[in-house]
């Protein structure tokens, strides 16, 4: 096994779009997320970037409530990256 196989870059999710919600407080990341999802197609993957501390709990809650799949979350200091697969 090669040590380089698991670098963050190689593991990064193939995304169809990115929504940058940095600097926005609750509920704006969620409101903008719902708006963005409406423009996208089923099965596509959206990357959501947020730095509102509430987003850590809010985005998974939104996903479970709306039936979309949260593939992964990456945390880099205050920045959160969510990868959401649309239903």
């Amino acid at each position: 096994m090669h040590g380089s196989d698991n670098t963050a870059e190689e593991m990064s999710v193939e995304k169809n779009a990115t929504l940058d919600a940095k600097g926005l407080m609750c509920p704006m990341p969620i409101v903008n997320l719902a708006k963005k999802v409406k423009e996208m197609k089923s099965g596509q993957i959206l990357e959501l970037i947020a730095d509102d501390v509430g987003a850590k709990e809010d985005v998974p809650a939104w996903c479970s409530r709306t039936g979309n799949t949260l593939l992964s979350v990456e945390e880099e200091g205050k920045i959160l990256r969510f990868y959401i697969k649309l239903k």
Partner: protein, 134 residues
């Protein structure tokens, strides 16, 4: 069919104006059908161009609070209201409060529907969640 979420707003201060819109816009973004019933002092918030203030002596600091919110990138009350309409949030005015407060239907925001308690309760009974903001 979408699940229903109802709120009753009974106070007319700035904070009571913001809270139901924040909750309502979030719930609508989560796919819920949102209904907000404005009654007693809360009804003032449904007037066109309502400019509510913080409660009591805090009212003098309303501008300061709005300024701080702007700095934090939080949408203004007008922006939240516009968003709510775009998201399909439904607004209702309590008919008795309208007579009590001397507010005419023409003074209410566009799209607000006048209801009595029984019509609102009928919606609340069918909803998954009802919150009282007061």
């Amino acid at each position: 069919m979408a699940e229903k979420f109802c709120m009753v707003v009974a106070e007319g201060s700035f904070d009571k104006a913001m809270m139901p819109l924040m909750m309502g816009n979030t719930a609508a973004s989560m796919g819920m059908e949102v209904h907000i019933f404005y009654t007693f002092f809360g009804l003032k918030l449904l007037k066109k161009n309502a400019k509510p203030k913080l409660p009591g002596m805090m009212r003098f600091f309303t501008g300061m609070m709005a300024g701080k919110m702007k700095k934090l990138n939080i949408p203004s009350l007008d922006e939240m209201m516009k968003q709510a309409k775009e998201l399909g949030v439904k607004f209702y005015a309590c008919s008795t409060s309208m007579s009590m407060m001397g507010i005419k239907e023409s003074e209410l925001i566009d799209g607000a529907k006048v209801l009595g308690a029984s019509a609102f309760l009928n919606m609340a009974f069918d909803s998954k969640l009802t919150l009282f903001i007061g």
